[in-house]
């Protein structure tokens, strides 16, 4: 590949895009203008925004003990955080001058009627309060709670419809005897006479509100806060009167010290905003130029001119990729800068108006900004590569546009997942496509020093480059396909297509059929698992658990490839590789099963700390595998035989045959191994499975038969099942003692392999694998590539 050509193409494309004045305006200039405009608009709106006053109605206001809650026809502002908060609540009481706040005579009339209503319903309101308090104490589905719950529901519905039509947002009712009883208790406390506790229960005031109604809820919150403060003051008065210490209600006075710094609080906010914004901007900034450079050029007819020049496909894709990446980066950074400046000014304008919980949202430090720019690079690269691949794949600009939404949904989903504070950078997440850079950026912006963030930078960057490379490779592949480059409108009819599928069958499945098989297996697994979650309690015995697992494997993994092979191909034997291999490879598979075992277990042991812990369901299953109550044959059948047969049929049979349709040597093996890994839901098993999948794929591809892989799989799993049945006594025997030793205490005991064993197995495995790789593809004659 010559970089000169890449540079030529890149420079031309960039100059071309820049010459499109209108697009340039929309992409570059408009955002820079739009954000400030939006900001100014929003500031205007908040400044002129005045909240509607909410009405608080107090009935029985004459029963309020001193010092009163009410002052000058208003709720006393001393109980509120700020005088403005008190201003937002309008008070109406049933005192003689309580309606003075209302100037509108119609409203006064309504309120007078309302007071009469309240007097009428007071008893029932009390009853509702009592029942609710009762129900809180009882467990929800107990038989005693049934009739009160029913009564409560009826009362609540009645009051809800009445209250929503009333002019009040919050109603406080002080019962008739309240003041008298309150003073009795205060006096008794002062005199320390009689039993103060328990005997006299003063009638309870009621506060009625509807938390589902936002207006009522807002008023309620303010009132509740004031009531709390007022109650504290009353308690203070009572204690002082009684000569009791004021610290009585607060025996453990804890001083709370908050170490939060304003800059750190701001950093928390930025660490959530920036990654999400960066991802969105990169995707949208990459997508539209990519569509124009890919599908758009095909439509305008300038693609073929480029294709007949000496530039290779890779050079063309690379040149275009660099163009898209430049635009993605500039869009993202321009937007962020513009948003940042606007945001800062906006927030300071709003913050001056009222105190915001964010405090002073200072501009992020220069260091953080540098991180943002640096990590924009891998994100941009990935999205540019993906967008370009989709653009090359699309047959027209219109089709290409439709790919944006799924791409955006997936990337936003991943990003939202990252924003969750409990999601942290760990080895597993750092190698996933979008989550890696996003989490790294979040950690860098938080400035957290606990996790060695710098250490993660390397795997994140390397894997990001890897994924971009993969996407570019796929783009180049699409670019080589004639039917993607040239076919315009397709004549697609469902009936014809089905007939074509069923009648014009080929001996082995095609690539898309293999993909459909995989998707089917994954879907069935998912369905099975979710339906299992519900009935987990019924699977109380290990035996049942194991049996269910057996059925599940056969139904979800074994059945689809069988059916699909029968239905869609003419040569089931070749598709599912049901031939007998040479004895060499069979023996090779058998020996490999035993020689790779210690290595695999050792590797898993070492990597244990990198993976998240096993979910409870999986752990249950593993225990069931080794439990004594399950007969050995059943355990072997479920954990060794069934996986061997079903998974081989699916992944090395149908799917591998489908992938081999392209005529390549390594790609089908790698892809089938990856798919095999993906299907195991647990991360640790995924890694294990992917590695073993390569060995199994090699066995199947080189021998043209399923049997060596089947044997390998069965022996590999089988020895693990048997190992769980070993007792410490067995390990004392001289033979076994050579290879393994037991370490750790009883419960935490696990097998550890002698170094000699590991070295021996390593050498044998390497030799056998080398032999396998170098062997010819035997009876599996390569398909003629055909019109793929």
């Amino acid at each position: 590949m010559s970089w000169k050509n890449v540079q030529l193409i890149f420079l031309r494309e960039v100059r071309d895009q820049l010459r499109d004045r209108r697009t340039l305006f929309m992409v570059a200039v408009l955002p820079l203008l739009l954000y400030p405009l939006l900001g100014v608009g929003m500031v205007q709106m908040t400044v002129t925004f005045s909240e509607q006053v909410r009405r608080v109605v107090i009935v029985g206001a004459d029963q309020i003990p001193a010092p009163s809650l009410i002052q000058n026809h208003r709720l006393d502002p001393v109980y509120f955080d700020s005088p403005e908060a008190a201003e937002k609540l309008k008070l109406v009481t049933d005192l003689p001058d309580g309606l003075d706040n209302e100037t509108d005579p119609a409203v006064r009339k309504k309120l007078e009627a309302f007071f009469a209503d309240v007097a009428q319903r007071e008893k029932r309101l009390e009853r509702l309060g009592n029942i609710q308090r009762q129900l809180v104490k009882l467990p929800p589905s107990s038989p005693e709670a049934e009739s009160p719950a029913e009564e409560e529901r009826i009362l609540r519905e009645e009051f809800e419809s009445w209250f929503s039509k009333s002019p009040a947002q919050v109603l406080i009712v002080f019962p008739k005897d309240f003041l008298k009883q309150y003073e009795i208790v205060s006096r008794k406390l002062k005199e320390r006479s009689g039993e103060v506790s328990g005997t006299i229960i003063p009638p309870r005031p009621i506060l009625l509100h509807n938390s589902a109604n936002e207006k009522s809820e807002m008023a309620y919150r303010r009132v509740q806060h004031a009531l709390q403060n007022w109650e504290d003051v009353l308690l203070g008065e009572r204690l002082r009167d009684a000569g009791l210490p004021l610290s009585l209600p607060n025996p453990v006075p804890i001083t709370k010290i908050d170490l939060a710094e304003a800059t750190q609080l701001a950093a928390n906010v930025w660490s959530k905003i920036f990654p999400a914004l960066l991802v969105i901007m990169s995707v949208t900034g990459a997508f539209y130029p990519a569509i124009d450079l890919g599908a758009g050029e095909k439509e305008r007819g300038t693609m073929e001119t480029l294709l007949i020049s000496p530039a290779s496909r890779t050079e063309i894709v690379f040149g275009k990729f660099l163009t898209v990446m430049v635009f993605s980066l500039s869009t993202a950074l321009l937007n962020l800068v513009s948003m940042g400046f606007t945001g800062k000014h906006m927030l300071s304008a709003i913050g001056a108006a009222r105190s915001s919980p964010l405090g002073d949202l200072s501009f992020p430090p220069l260091e953080s900004l540098i991180w943002v720019v640096l990590l924009a690079l891998p994100l941009s690269a990935l999205f540019s590569a993906l967008s370009l691949s989709l653009a090359m794949f699309a047959r027209s600009s219109k089709e290409g546009q439709y790919y944006l939404t799924p791409l955006l949904l997936v990337t936003m989903g991943l990003t939202m997942f990252c924003l969750n504070p409990s999601v942290e950078l760990n080895p597993y997440y750092s190698v996933l496509p979008v989550t890696g850079p996003a989490l790294l950026l979040k950690a860098l912006l938080l400035g957290s020093t606990e996790t060695p963030v710098a250490l993660y930078a390397i795997p994140v960057l390397i894997t990001s480059c890897g994924y971009s490379g993969l996407a570019l490779w796929w783009a180049t592949e699409q670019f080589q396909r004639e039917d993607v480059l040239f076919r315009e409108a397709e004549r697609f009819e469902i009936g014809l297509w089905i007939r074509h599928l069923l009648r014009e069958k080929e001996p082995t499945p095609s690539f898309s059929e293999a993909a459909v098989c995989f998707v089917l297996v994954a879907l069935l697994q998912f369905l099975f698992l979710t339906s299992m979650q519900g009935s987990l309690e019924q699977l109380n015995s290990p035996q049942k658990l194991v049996t269910v697992q057996l059925i599940y494997l056969i139904a979800t993994v074994g059945a689809p490839p069988l059916f699909m092979a029968l239905l869609l191909t003419t040569n089931v034997r070749r598709t599912l590789k049901l031939t007998f291999p040479s004895w060499n490879i069979l023996a090779l598979g058998l020996v490999l099963a035993f020689s790779l075992q210690p290595l695999a277990l050792e590797l898993m042991g070492r990597l244990d700390r990198f993976f998240p812990p096993l979910p409870p369901g999986a752990r249950q299953l593993l225990e069931a595998m080794g439990s004594g109550s399950v007969p050995l044959w059943l355990s072997l059948a479920t954990f060794a035989l069934a996986p061997a047969v079903c998974e081989e049929l699916a992944f090395r049979g149908f799917i591998l045959s489908g992938l081999q349709h392209s005529g390549r040597r390594w790609l089908p093996i790698v892809i089938s191994a990856l798919l095999f890994g993906v299907i195991h839901m647990i991360p640790k098993q995924q890694f294990n499975a992917a590695l073993l999948g390569i060995v199994l794929g090699l066995l199947a591809a080189r021998s043209g038969s399923l049997l060596p892989g089947l044997l390998f799989h069965f022996c590999f799993n089988g020895t693990q099942v048997l190992a769980t049945r070993l007792t410490p006594a067995d390990l004392e025997t001289p033979f076994l003692g050579w290879f393994v030793k037991l370490t750790g205490e009883d419960d935490a005991a696990h097998l550890q392999f002698q170094p000699l064993t590991l070295i021996l197995c390593g050498v044998i495995s390497a030799a056998l694998l080398w032999k396998l790789i170098r062997s010819d593809s035997g009876s599996n004659a390569p398909e003629s590539a055909g019109p793929t």
Binding site: S2, L8, D16, G301, T305, I308, S309, P310, L485, H500
Partner: protein, 329 residues
């Protein structure tokens, strides 16, 4: 991926001569195809990192002064099969074979959907044949596509020009892509623009050009690197009489320079006036091959048009109703 060089014992093996239009080491201007006296070894520029060529065995290799006998285009049993949902497997090209010599204009004559565009696209390496071989300027289209593309100039209705580039910029860009060294690029551009009388449209943007101007720019782009082989797919389609004539004149001029030219058409006049030899193609098969007088005499018809219709009708009658519409692509 590198494939290993399969060498056959050959006398002048150890001396690497330059051959058919190879930049950047020597002057690319010469009528290279005609004066190829040497073995077709190509020492590719190592910085391009393309795999070494195989020696293609040539029966008609001539040493000394002979310039005849080395076909620049060699097609052997070329087949291209497509799969259509409704019609099943289709042969766009069905075992087509012919040769084209340098200094010759070869015509592919056929109705729409005959396979002409498919054939020419295979030559330009944009499509790959299902079976058979084609070699252009000594390079196989499947195994050495990049060399093939360096040695051909291709023009069709689908090879458009960029909207936002001027004529000069467009031809200059492709000149650079074809590897013309910078010091030779500007003089070459000047020369082409003068010859094709394009000096007035040097700075006109593609979107603002008329059809005739666009065609001229396309031609300029096609010949900028002076390739030995030129491929024209319906060069006068959609053009008015004057522009069409100008195009045909240019093609004739190129022939006089010793280029090997193949063009596809369904216009009889062009065939009569321009083509040295013609192949009549229908449903992917070659029905007749030879010079115009030869064919007229062979089929006992007054002119090539009648020959054409006769052959088409015969084939249609024997194989059933004709295919409707163009076979894509």
């Amino acid at each position: 991926m590198y494939r290993f060089w399969k060498q056959e014992p050959f006398p002048h093996q150890d001396s690497f001569f330059q051959t058919a239009s190879g930049f950047p080491n020597r002057d690319w201007r010469g009528n290279t195809s005609c004066s190829a006296k040497s073995v077709h070894f190509v020492r590719t520029d190592p910085s391009r990192r393309v795999s070494p060529t195989e020696i293609v065995e040539r029966e008609s290799l001539v040493f000394g002064n002979g310039s005849v006998g080395i076909p620049m285009i060699q097609v052997e049993n070329l087949t291209k099969q497509f799969h259509d949902l409704k019609m099943g497997p289709l042969f766009a090209l069905d075992h087509v074979s012919f040769d084209v010599q340098p200094g010759e204009i070869f015509g592919l004559l056929g109705p729409n959907g005959a396979g002409k565009t498919t054939c020419l696209r295979i030559f330009s390496t944009v499509l790959k044949p299902t079976s058979g071989r084609a070699s252009i300027a000594g390079y196989d289209v499947v195994k050495q596509p990049e060399q093939v593309r360096s040695h051909i100039g291709f023009m069709s209705n689908n090879t458009g020009i960029y909207d936002r580039m001027t004529a000069w910029e467009m031809v200059e860009y492709y000149g650079r892509l074809y590897g013309i060294p910078e010091d030779q690029l500007q003089p070459r551009l000047n020369e082409i623009f003068q010859t094709l009388q394009m000096d007035s449209i040097r700075d006109v943007l593609g979107s603002k050009m008329s059809t005739g101007m666009k065609q001229k720019v396309s031609i300029a782009r096609t010949i900028v690197h002076d390739p030995p082989v030129l491929i024209f797919d319906e060069p006068t389609a959609g053009l008015d009489v004057l522009v069409a004539r100008a195009v045909l004149e240019t093609i004739a001029d190129l022939k006089s320079k010793g280029k090997c030219i193949i063009l596809s058409t369904h216009i009889m006049r062009e065939v009569e006036k321009l083509c040295d030899r013609v192949a009549i193609i229908h449903r992917g098969k070659i029905l007749a091959l030879g010079t115009v007088p030869e064919l007229v005499e062979q089929h006992q018809q007054p002119d090539i048009e009648e020959v054409f219709f006769k052959l088409i009708r015969d084939l249609d009658q024997s194989s059933g109703p004709p295919l409707t519409g163009a076979v894509s692509p």
